[in-house]
Amino acid sequence: MRNMWAIAKKELKIYFSSPTAYIVISLFLLLAGFMYYVIISNFSLLSLRAGNNPYFSSHLSLNQSVYIPFFSNAAVVLLLLLPILTMRLFAEEKRQRTEELLFTLPLTNTQIIIGKYIAAVVVLTVMLVATAPYVFYPFFITKPELAPVLTGYLGLFLLGASFISFGLFASSLTENQIVAAVFSFAILLLLWLIYWLTYVTSSMGGFLRFISFFGHFDNLSKGVVDTADLAYYVSFTLVGLFLTYAVLEVRRWWR
């Protein structure tokens, strides 16, 4: 436990003493903030017009028209940015030859993997928390439903955490950070595209929705917490971590 935390602390120190974490966090705030701004401006325009139409205005909901689109857009921004966060985690150890220290210290591969995973998840948490000021601002003016916003955040967190586990896996395969980022981006994009396929195929729709990250995100962003969705994210994260573990074990024989 202490060893995992030592690794996590080391990774966090490196994240915050190099531009990586700052760039990823500010890009996220910028892109998500921009989307939020566009969505909410659009919404206030609509509400203004709806002002003299009681039927229309009774159907306007902040949750429906702002938070749901915001969360699904933020999810795409995570897909773009998290590979940049995770790319260094193993690739850089290999390139800088620090893995010769890491793998000769009294550490297990599991401790190393979980430690690095925790560090990236901490940065993800900072990213999400940092959006709270503008996301919760409307609560001071009007009364949207709180629960769907909170589950939306939970969804983003779980989604991001599974992106991170696959980013870690991609990073364990190479000593080139760019290759790691491109590869994890490709995996995530593929899973996203699979979700798009669910709109056109009906026969496989259920299955495709089941394996895609985003199918499970929909419910959460609407405020529906289904244990099946939570279990999905947990197991996908475990798959990513296990693949990383397998790579480290196999690579032991090639050193």
Binding site: E100, L101, T104
Partner: protein, 241 residues
């Protein structure tokens, strides 16, 4: 004590180390000699558990490094050929990280970090980022890291490379003082280093161990020849020994 049993490593068809067997007892400081590409680094990597041997076993204080890696690794301080440093970290954060992983916490961690900082002469750069250090200082940080936790076994791959003459003398006397109960293996290309620091030598060529033993004993075998002569004669005999 370190025991290498028939250690063998092939990279594909490239033979790096072949059937290397040796026992290094407590209190020994062993100088590991051999031409470039002889297999010194590969042997050390197998002893520290970084590399998995193709064949054979590495035993540290009675523990097989492959079978009981955690317990065995706790006993080893290792300086790899390229000092393993995180350029983004400050010297002190780096040493704190290694100390924590070696199981040192709280007051003991603080004391140990301070001790190795002074042993490796790092006081002036303790708060600098490793990225900004000169080559010699990086090497010293690598040495300091290996000394943390006062390990029973030290494996140092070319420890004095890149140091200035004054520092070489200091590090050598430091290594010499480590003898006593510990077991030290250091590789080097400087024969003078072996004479001044080590009591035993191992000469390896093309992956095979050619000469091994206490320096005086080996010298006697060669008719009291100098280390230079012994080295040249041993490696020219090549891998047939």
């Amino acid at each position: 004590m370190i025991r290498a049993e028939n250690l063998t490593k092939y990279y594909g068809t490239v033979r790096a180390v072949e059937d290397l067997t040796m026992e290094v007892f407590d209190g020994t400081i062993l100088g590991f000699l051999g031409p470039n590409g002889a297999g010194k680094t590969t042997t050390m990597r197998m002893l520290t558990g970084y590399t998995t041997p193709t064949k054979g076993r590495a035993i540290i204080e009675g523990l097989d490094i492959q079978k009981e890696p955690l317990r065995a690794k706790r006993l080893i301080g290792y300086l790899p050929e390229i000092p393993p440093l995180y350029p983004e970290l400050k010297v002190s954060s780096f040493l704190n990280f290694v100390a924590e992983v070696k199981g040192l916490h709280g007051k003991r961690k603080k004391q140990e970090v301070e001790r190795v900082i002074s042993q490796a002469g790092l006081e002036k750069v303790a708060l600098r980022r490793i990225r900004n250090l000169s080559k010699g200082y990086r090497q010293r940080v690598g040495i300091a890291q290996a000394l943390l936790g006062d390990p029973k076994v030290l494996i140092l791959d070319e420890p004095t490379i890149g140091l200035d003459p004054k520092e070489i003398v200091e590090i050598r006397s430091l290594i010499k003082s480590l003898g006593g109960e510990r077991t030290v293996i250091l590789s080097t290309h400087i024969l003078q280093e072996v004479t001044s620091v080590c009591d035993s030598i191992a000469i390896i060529n093309e992956g095979r161990l050619i000469e091994f033993g206490k320096i005086e004993e080996v010298q006697q075998k060669y008719g009291s020849a100098s280390l230079e002569e012994i080295y040249i004669s041993a490696i020219s005999r090549g891998g047939e020994a």
